[in-house]
Amino acid sequence: MSGTYPEAGDVKAGDTVGELVVTPTEITLSRFSALTWNPHRIHFDTPYAATEGYPGPLVHAHLHGSYLARLVVGWAGPRARLTRFRWQNRQYAIPGDELRVTGTVTAVNGRLVDCELAETNQRGETCAPGWATVELPEKNS
């Protein structure tokens, strides 16, 4: 380990990559819509979201993905490199939902570490599963 971050050889399959808990708000969604130039009302307009049958504006697909990526990037540290990342959107979330992001190392191949990730809500439903590969720095480099 270098400080609190793993280096090549430090991790093995089954290790946890930590946990992240986020509760997006209407402000989060509004800012994310603006930053991504996304005018879809489903993400910021509660009365409009109700017309589509939702209890609130929806957390953006790419915000779910960003939370998953944040967990693994934060765990691997600034000298690691994310080489592959994918996720799927399974269940919607709205402001106030408590989203818990967790991950586990599934395979290690030299400096490359595969991780399985999941974002679940306060009801235990999986909102977004994810998978990542990070390249860890050499030991003592």
Binding site: T36, P39, H60, L63, G65, R70, R84
Partner: protein
């Protein structure tokens, strides 16, 4: 609903395979910082150019999803030209999905080179497939989009993204 989906399917099929080249331009440091802040990358490499330089990067590091999360890179249509739900009539370039509710299904990203502030980037985008499916709540379309983000100067591949959208 079925007829509307069938019509949209035919329209969308006509746009499959048409490649688009979109100039993103030079990545702005402040825009990268803001995106990172909102999604929670508050570490030095994503917020402090000097810290990023110490780590060996040529500029402030972008959050992994920065390029692939931005929906539009051009000025975009006037508000009067948007659909009632706020969407553009052509959020997927030449593929016409106007009138359908579009939801992101997820992405598969490969990162070839670090994406940093100051890079001049071009995006190559193409809808590669449209499939009609029967979902639990009725018919839907699944659209597959392939994007390549390259250095506008030397053509180096930076990020590759496969994304799926569900249209109902």
């Amino acid at each position: 609903m079925t007829a509307a989906i069938d019509e949209a399917y035919e329209r969308a099929l006509a746009g499959v395979g048409k490649a688009q080249e979109i100039r993103i331009g030079v990545l702005d440091e402040r825009a990268l910082q803001r995106f990172s802040l909102v999604v929670g990358h508050t570490d030095a490499a994503h917020q402090d150019p000097a810290a990023a330089a110490e780590l060996g990067y040529d500029g402030l590091l972008a959050a992994p999803l920065y390029l692939s999360a931005v929906l539009g890179w051009d000025t975009g249509p006037a508000e009067s030209d948007l659909l009632a739900d706020g969407n553009s009539t052509t959020p997927l370039g030449d593929v016409d999905v106007a009138g359908l509710r579009l939801m992101g299904g997820g992405q598969d990203l490969t990162f070839h080179e670090p994406v940093v502030a100051g890079l001049d980037v071009t995006m190559h985008a193409e809808v590669t497939a449209v499939t009609r499916k029967e979902g639990r709540s009725g018919p839907l379309l699944v659209l597959e989009v392939h994007r390549r983000y390259v250095d506008a100067g030397d053509g180096r591949l930076l990020v590759e993204c496969h994304e799926s959208f569900l249209a109902r």
